[in-house]
């Protein structure tokens, strides 16, 4: 028996068609849209359709703003200006500066393994489930463009050697989830769950139910999902069953170590973390991934709630 019906709101943003679908399912409104390369949804306990629509528009608007501002695929935004500066210093706005400061903290906490300049390694690595492992030469060529220590960051000016790039993709989605949850709290709206491609946060504890039930995907071979009751806080997952390389019986994870330019050996297939905020959950799972075989001992020492799959 269907328990949903839909409403489609479309708008044009440049060349891109952006739409929101609103559905009623299992006694809650689900506002769905696409942002940051992921399916995104807002689940809310709003009673009225127009209220659910307004909240989804608020959340989608913020997600699209962050996408437009920080995507490395968008010409003309701050990331694009930094990546095409050709060695010149670029002055950035406060929000970008805050994100860069945050990235510096992670760089230090991870013993330089979390590095927003490591995105160029993607030129060498294509994690599509295939067997194209790059040659050592290609990797070491690209690696010359990696390393935050080569950047000169003096808020609000960032200067990097020509050819180096930054990529905020490792932070952006979690940041967007928390920003949206914060906007919903400011609005004093009914309880909502913000879910951007599996990274999610609760705006406040639900009323009509004890908790939000979140399914964390198992792997493609049919491993069962974890069902998590989330009342407060956030969840984020690193790792993806479909993003890896397989050659000569070796599985290369898509988590790259910027120190070597090669995948972190023995990294778990995925790590899901529960934390107060989506940013903390996401960063903690990335930091754990970078620990490779030591991911679980590292996480146990943090006293965080986690689910690790190998």
């Amino acid at each position: 028996m269907p328990s949903s019906y839909s409403l489609v709101i479309a708008s044009s943003q440049g060349q891109k068609r952006r739409e929101i679908r609103l559905e009623l399912a299992e006694d809650a409104w689900h506002g769905r849209f696409q942002a940051m390369g992921s399916p995104c949804e807002l689940v809310c306990e709003a009673k009225k359709r127009h209220e659910a629509l307004e909240l989804t528009e608020l959340v989608a608007g913020e997600a699209w703003r962050i996408e437009d501002k920080f995507s490395r695929y968008r010409a003309g935004n701050v990331v694009h200006r930094i990546n095409t500066a050709g060695g010149r210093a670029v002055e950035v706005d406060d929000e970008t500066a805050d994100l860069l400061d945050f990235a510096v903290t992670l760089y230090n906490l991870s013993e330089h393994r979390f590095d927003i300049t490591s995105g160029v390694l993607r030129r060498a690595w294509h994690f599509d489930g295939g067997d194209r492992v790059p040659s050592e030469n290609i990797v070491s060529d690209v690696l010359r463009l990696v390393g935050w220590h080569r950047a000169d960051w003096r808020r609000p000016f960032l200067q990097m050697p020509s050819g180096m790039e930054i990529d905020l993709g490792g932070i952006g989605k979690e940041y967007a989830v928390d920003r949206c949850a914060g906007l919903l709290r400011e609005q004093g709206s009914s309880a909502c769950l913000v879910n951007f491609g599996g990274d999610l946060a609760v705006s406040r504890a639900p009323e009509g139910r004890r908790s939000w039930k979140v399914a964390v995907e198992g792997d493609a071979e049919g491993e069962p999902a974890h069902l998590i009751d989330l009342k407060q806080g956030a969840l984020a997952t690193s790792g993806d069953a479909r993003r890896y390389l397989l050659k000569d019986g070796i599985r290369y994870s898509h988590i790259l170590d910027p120190m070597t330019g090669w995948p972190v050996p023995d990294a778990p297939r995925s790590i899901t973390i529960a934390a107060d905020t989506c940013v903390e959950a996401g960063m903690m799972s990335t930091l754990a991934m970078l620990k490779g075989a030591q991911a679980e001992p590292f996480l146990r020492a943090q006293d965080v709630v986690f689910w690790c799959r190998r």
Binding site: M1, P2, S3, S4, Y5, S6, E23, L24, R49, D98, L99, D101, F102, T105, L106, L109, Y175, D178, R179, A181, G182, R185, E186, S203, R204, A205, R210, S211, A215, G218, G222, E223, P224, A225, H226, L227, I228, D229, L230, K231, Q232, G233, A234, L235, A274, A275, D276, T277, V279, E280, M283, M284, L287, F298, A301, Q302, D303, V304, V305, W307
Partner: protein, 435 residues
């Protein structure tokens, strides 16, 4: 790296996050894993008044969720049945003696009392397994198998269902099919249709094992009319083939004028029936058609669930069922649900109170009250609540009352003044626990 040093990472991360997000952080995380298995268990008591049927049943349904909305469902039910059920023979002004279905002993019924067969005792074990998964974005398929075993009965079945959503998931069309292959091995062997009840130890009228096959097809459509109203309509077709007779039911062979059951002579030293009884005979086929309509209406948390079913079969039984449930939530996690059900059916074309010796034997005949003309009403109340650890409990108490009548043109002589279709009252108590 020591534990203390690693722990300092999460503290530093929290501080940096706070700086990044400002004051927008809400509360401390509260997350825990749900067990992937979901169990729905129930304990049911069904008790008819007097010495009649009592059923105590325990059931558990376990459901395991996999990724992508795929589910495995396993079910187990154990039933314990005891008590007496009408044998089909009519009351007499004298005591009557019957041979037990096993053929190994006899029992007597006092004058003026409705003959009940008190050997009715059985334990049933039923197992089901099902798998459900989406196919593409808009369709769902499920397949299942079932088996149940009683002392004298084995059921094996398979089923499949396909459902597809249309119209932005506002409309769902479904088609299902179920096949069951049952075999009966009645206590003492299945008696030949219309054969007489014989002396204790005489098995000359007994046949071997019997089979029954059933095909069910259901076509359905459900439609979301508005956020508050969902309606559903089904058509179902059911075809049964094989041994559809109840091997334990008899009819009294009566005098065409007085309506009293004919006496039977028994050789000295032999135990056997005091009167003449014939085992019933039903057609070897039955085709049923039914239509079902249901509406669920949501009103500020309250839910009205109303349904109607019309069934008609080629045994000439027509039935109507109206079922009403109204769920009233109160407090944060409790509800009350009154339930009312009305049922009425016409009798089968071959339903007979008794068989008069003055007329030729009909093609088929049964005195089973379940094939007779009757009305039934069920009224009950369910109370459900959510426990502190988010499990669900419920208690349901219902009363059932059945009143029927034998068509006047079937009553002969002394039968007119007797109660030929006694009322049946039962209570149903059910505890449910979902965790």
């Amino acid at each position: 790296m020591s534990q203390k040093e690693t722990h300092s990472i999460s503290v530093a991360l929290a501080a940096a996050t706070c700086t990044l997000l400002g004051s927008g952080i809400s509360a401390t995380v509260d997350a825990q894993e749900e067990p992937a298995w979901d169990f729905n268990t129930s304990l049911l008591y069904y008790g008819e008044d007097g010495d009649r049927v009592k059923d105590f049943s325990v059931s558990a349904i376990a459901r395991r969720m996999f990724i992508d909305d795929r589910y495995l469902t396993l079910g187990l039910t154990i039933d314990g049945l005891t008590g007496a059920t009408p044998s089909g023979a009519i009351r007499q002004d004298v005591a009557q003696t019957f041979t037990r279905p096993s053929g190994n002993a006899a029992y007597s019924v006092a004058a003026g009392v409705l003959p009940l067969d008190d050997t009715f005792k059985d334990t049933r074990l039923a197992l089901t397994a099902g798998w459900q998964q989406p196919v593409g974005d808009t369709s769902q398929v499920s397949v299942g198998a079932s088996a149940s075993k009683e002392y004298d009965y084995l059921h094996l079945g398979v089923n499949a269902k396909f459902a597809r959503d249309f119209n932005q998931r506002n409309t769902t069309v479904s088609a299902g099919i179920a096949l069951s292959m049952d075999s009966l091995d009645p206590v003492g062997g299945a008696p030949a249709p219309f054969s007489p009840m014989l002396d204790v130890g005489d098995t000359s009228n007994r046949l071997g094992d019997q089979d029954k096959d059933v095909l069910d097809i259901v076509l359905g459509v459900s439609q979301v009319i508005s956020r508050d109203l969902v309606v559903q309509a089904n058509y179902s077709y059911s075809k049964s083939d094989g041994y559809l007779t109840d091997p334990y039911k008899v009819l009294s062979l009566v005098d065409g004028t007085s309506g009293d059951t004919l006496l039977r002579s028994i050789a000295p030293g032999v135990d056997g029936p005091s009167h003449q009884f014939l085992f019933e005979s039903r057609p070897g086929e039955r085709t049923k058609h039914s239509i079902f309509g249901q509406a669920k209406y949501y009103m500020n948390g309250k839910v009205l669930d109303a349904s109607y079913r019309y069934m008609s079969d080629d045994w000439e039984i027509d039935s109507h069922t109206v079922d009403l449930r109204y769920r009233i939530p109160f407090g944060a996690n409790r509800y009350l649900e009154p339930h009312l059900r009305f049922y009425t059916q016409t009798d089968a074309e071959f339903y007979r109170l008794s068989i008069p010796d003055s007329l030729p034997l009909p093609g088929h005949a049964s005195a089973d009250y379940r094939l007779g003309n009757f009305d039934a009403i069920t009224a009950g109340l369910k109370y459900g609540w959510r426990t502190r650890n988010d499990n669900e409990m419920s208690v349901r108490i219902e009363g059932y009352r059945q009143t029927g009548s034998v068509p006047a043109d079937q009553l002969i002589g002394n039968q007119v003044s007797r109660d030929n279709f006694p009322d049946l009252n039962a209570i149903i108590v059910q505890f449910g626990y979902r965790f």
